[in-house]
C-alpha cells in the first residue's frame, strides 16, 4: 500500500475515535494536531488499527509513536 492508501484507510478510523469529521491525516500529523488524542484514545485508536488491518502494532510503536507516519510505516511493513 502507498502512503496515501494507508492514510485514506486511517482517516475514517481517526474521525470516529477522535470524534472529528474534519480530521485530514498526513504523515506529519501528531497528537498535538488532534483534539481528544490522549493516552487512552491513543490506545483505542491503535486497537482499531490492529483490527482493521489484521496486524499487531509492537509496544515500541505504541509507546513511542511520534507522528502518524510511524504508524503508516508499521502498517506497510506488517502487510508485506
Amino acid at each position: 500500500m502507498t502512503d496515501q492508501e494507508v492514510l485514506n484507510d486511517l482517516t475514517p478510523l481517526f474521525r470516529e475515535i477522535f470524534r472529528d469529521d474534519a480530521i485530514t491525516l498526513k504523515r506529519e500529523t501528531t497528537a498535538a494536531d488532534v483534539e481528544r488524542w490522549d493516552s487512552l484514545t491513543h490506545i483505542d485508536m491503535i486497537m482499531m488499527v490492529e483490527a482493521h488491518f489484521g496486524i499487531r502494532v509492537p509496544t515500541r510503536v505504541v509507546a513511542q509513536m511520534k507522528a502518524v507516519g510511524d504508524l503508516v510505516h508499521v502498517i506497510q511493513s506488517r502487510l508485506k
Binding site: L40, H42, I43, A51, V62, A63
Partner: protein, 597 residues
C-alpha cells in the same frame, strides 16, 4: 434493553463507549442510580462503558469518577468528592497489575508469603469505609496471571505470582461472605472465559494503565451493572423453556415419541446434558415452565413416557403447550405464577420466537441461543442473566411450591394481537402452481408433514405431476421474512368435482404457523376457485395420529360442516360467502434463478 445484542469484541466496546460518552438526558424517566467509580487503573473508558451497561439494565447512571489511584484518599476523607457525592453504590475496580507491582517489589520470601493477606486488608479498608455507611460496594477478584514461574508447581506456592493471586482470590471470597453489602465482581471468571492471554494486553497496561484489552471492558462493566441491577431487585426467577430442538432434538409432533433425539447417540445425549444443566438451575432456585407449540398431550407424552427425559413433569411449574403465539403464553405463565415479566428468561432455539417475544414483551429476558445444543449452556452463562444474590433453603424448594400454586390457578389464556409484530417481519410469499424444479421438495413436504396435514394421502411425486398435467389446481408456496428464507413451506393438490374445488392434499410446515400463511393460502385457494369459474371449495379432514392441530381448521374459516363422524369431517364454503382474510404477508417478486427476492 441491550444496546448491541449483535455486537461483540472491539465493535461492542466502541458502541458502548459512544453511548456512554454522550449520555442523553433521562428522557424516559428511568430510575436513577448514583454510582461512584474508584479505580487503581485508568478509569475513564471503564466509566463510559459502565454508564452504558447501567443503561442496559434500565437504570439511569449518575456517575462520579475519582481520579486514577485516589481510592484510599476518597475512602478515608469524609469530605472527599466520593463521599460528598453520596453514592448508592461504589465500584472499586482493581487491577491485577497493581498487585503484581507489589509482588515484584517484595524483597524477601516471607514478604511474598504474607502479601495476599496484607493486600486484602488494604482493599477491605477502602471497601469497609463505604460498607460502614451502608453503601453497596463492588470489589473484584483478579484474573489468574500468566506469571507462574514454577510451571505446574506455581499453584502450590505463594512465591509465584500465579499462586499468590490464587491465594488472594480465596481470601477475598471468605471476606466477602462475611459482609452483607459487599458484592463480588468475578473478573477471574470473565478472564477465564476470554482466555487470560487474550484478556490481558501488556501494551495497554504499560502505555495507558488499561487493566485489560479494551475489548473486555464491556464484560467488566456489565458485571458491575448486573450486580447493581440485582441489588435494585431485578432478579430472574423463571426459566420458560421451549421443547422441540431446545430440550430434545427434532419435532415431537412430526417425529413422534420414538423419533425425537434424546439420549441414545451423541446428539441425543447432548440434549440430556442440557436438561441436566436446566435441572441444576431449578435446584438453585429457578422455577421451570414450558412454552411450546405442540398439542399438550403430545408434549406431555415425552415427559411421561420417554425413558431418557431428565426433566420430569413434576419439575415443571406451568406447562403450556398449544398453538397460540408465545408472547401471549408467556404473559399467561407470568399471571399464573403471579410474577413480573421481568423475572422471566425465555429459552428457545427459534430466532423467530425469540424475536417475537423480545418485540412483544420487552421486559422478558431473551438470551440469544446458538445453533448447536452443545453451546446452549455456555450461551446462557455468558448472557449474564443468571445473576443470583445468595442461596437459601427456599431456593431449593421454590419450584415445587410454585407448581402447587400454579395448579390452583385456573385463569384462561388470553389471546394477544400480534399484527403489528407480523407486519414488522416483512414476510413475502410466492404462491404458484407446482413447478417442475420444486417437485422433489413438494413430494418430501407431503411425506414428512404430519401435523398440518388434512388427509394424509401422501401423494407421490408422480401423482403430483399427474395432477399438474391434468390441469388441476396445484399450489406451492415459498416464504421468506427479514430473518431469512424458509423455502417451500406449503403444498396443495386440488381436484375439480362438479362445480367445486376439492382440496385433496394440503400440507404445511409447522415452522410457519400462526403468521397468517394459512389465511393467505385459503385466500389463494378461493381466488383460484373464482378464476376457474367454480362455485365453492370442499374440504375434508381425516383424523390421523398426529393431525389434531387442523381438526378445526375449516371451522375457523367458517366452512359449513356437511358431514362428521369420529374420524372424518367434510366441509363446504361457496366463493360468494367466503370473507377474504387480511394478512401481513406481501407477494414476492420472483427471480427464478435466485429464489425469492
Amino acid at each position: 434493553m441491550n444496546v448491541a445484542i449483535d455486537k461483540s469484541g472491539l465493535e461492542l466496546y466502541r458502541s458502548m463507549l459512544q453511548i456512554g460518552q454522550s449520555l442523553p438526558n433521562n428522557a424516559d424517566g428511568l430510575p436513577e442510580v448514583r454510582i461512584a467509580l474508584l479505580a487503581d487503573h485508568a478509569p475513564q473508558q471503564l466509566a463510559k462503558v459502565l454508564s452504558c451497561a447501567v443503561l442496559e439494565q434500565g437504570l439511569f447512571p449518575l456517575l462520579c469518577v475519582a481520579d486514577y489511584g485516589t481510592a484510599a484518599f476518597q475512602a478515608f476523607d469524609p469530605a472527599s468528592e466520593t463521599h460528598t457525592f453520596r453514592p448508592e453504590f461504589v465500584v472499586y475496580s482493581t487491577a491485577m497489575q497493581k498487585y503484581r507491582d507489589r509482588f515484584f517489589a517484595a524483597e524477601r520470601a516471607q514478604e511474598r508469603d504474607t502479601l495476599p493477606k496484607r493486600y486484602l486488608d488494604e482493599v477491605l479498608g477502602v471497601a469497609d469505609s463505604f460498607l460502614d455507611r451502608g453503601i453497596g460496594t463492588i470489589v473484584n477478584n483478579f484474573p489468574l496471571p500468566l506469571e507462574r514461574m514454577f510451571g505446574n508447581f506455581g499453584l502450590l506456592t505463594s512465591q509465584s505470582l500465579y499462586g499468590s493471586v490464587f491465594r488472594f482470590n480465596q481470601l477475598l471470597v471468605e471476606a466477602i461472605a462475611k459482609r452483607a453489602n459487599c458484592l463480588l465482581s468475578d473478573f477471574m471468571y470473565l478472564a477465564n472465559g476470554a482466555g487470560v492471554q487474550n484478556f490481558f494486553d501488556e501494551r495497554l497496561w504499560q502505555t495507558s494503565k488499561y487493566p485489560c484489552a479494551n475489548r473486555f471492558l464491556p464484560d467488566l462493566a456489565r458485571s458491575a451493572a448486573r450486580l447493581i441491577a440485582t441489588r435494585r431487585g431485578k432478579v430472574s426467577k423463571v426459566l420458560v423453556l421451549d421443547l422441540d430442538n431446545t430440550l430434545w432434538g427434532g419435532v415431537i409432533g412430526d417425529d413422534g415419541l420414538e423419533g425425537i433425539n434424546l439420549g441414545g447417540d451423541a446428539y441425543g445425549e447432548a440434549f440430556r446434558q442440557f436438561q441436566k444443566y436446566i435441572l441444576s438451575l431449578r435446584d438453585r432456585g429457578y422455577i421451570l415452565a414450558v412454552c411450546s407449540k405442540n398439542n399438550e398431550s403430545v408434549a406431555l407424552d415425552a415427559f411421561r413416557n420417554h425413558p431418557e427425559m431428565v426433566i420430569k413433569e413434576t419439575d415443571i411449574s406451568v406447562f403450556v403447550a398449544n398453538w397460540n403465539d408465545k408472547a401471549s403464553n408467556i404473559e399467561f405463565i407470568a399471571r399464573v405464577l403471579n410474577l413480573g415479566l421481568d423475572s422471566i428468561i425465555f429459552i428457545d432455539d427459534s430466532a423467530f420466537e425469540r424475536s417475537l417475544v423480545r418485540s412483544a414483551l420487552p421486559q422478558v429476558c431473551v438470551p440469544e441461543l446458538p445453533e448447536d445444543v452443545t453451546d446452549y449452556c455456555a450461551a446462557l452463562e455468558q448472557s449474564g442473566l443468571l445473576e443470583g444474590t445468595g442461596f437459601t433453603k427456599e431456593d431449593a424448594t421454590r419450584s415445587a411450591k410454585y407448581r402447587e400454586e400454579a395448579q390452583r390457578t385456573t385463569e384462561q389464556l388470553k389471546f394477544g394481537n400480534i399484527d403489528e409484530y407480523l407486519a414488522s417481519l416483512e414476510m413475502r410469499i410466492d404462491c404458484s402452481p407446482f413447478r417442475s424444479e420444486d417437485m422433489p421438495r413438494i413430494a418430501q413436504l407431503i411425506q414428512r408433514s404430519n401435523q398440518f396435514n388434512f388427509r394424509t394421502q401422501r401423494l407421490s411425486q408422480a401423482a403430483c405431476e399427474k395432477a399438474l398435467e391434468a390441469g388441476e389446481v396445484t399450489i406451492s408456496a415459498r416464504l421468506r421474512d427479514k430473518f431469512g428464507d424458509y423455502g417451500l413451506i406449503a403444498a396443495a393438490v386440488c381436484e375439480t368435482l362438479d362445480d367445486d374445488l376439492f382440496i385433496k392434499e394440503f400440507v404445511m410446515s409447522c415452522r410457519v404457523l400462526k403468521r397468517g400463511v394459512e389465511e393467505y393460502l385459503v385466500n389463494y385457494v378461493f381466488d383460484q376457485c373464482r378464476t376457474q369459474g367454480l362455485k365453492g371449495v370442499r374440504g375434508q379432514y381425516l383424523r390421523s395420529a398426529k393431525n389434531a392441530m387442523v381438526a378445526d381448521f375449516y371451522a375457523r374459516f367458517e366452512f359449513e360442516n356437511t358431514f362428521r363422524d369420529n374420524d372424518r369431517s367434510d366441509w363446504y364454503l361457496s366463493v360468494e360467502n367466503y370473507k377474504v382474510r387480511s394478512t401481513q404477508i406481501g407477494e414476492a417478486k420472483i427471480d427464478r434463478s435466485r429464489g425469492i427476492e
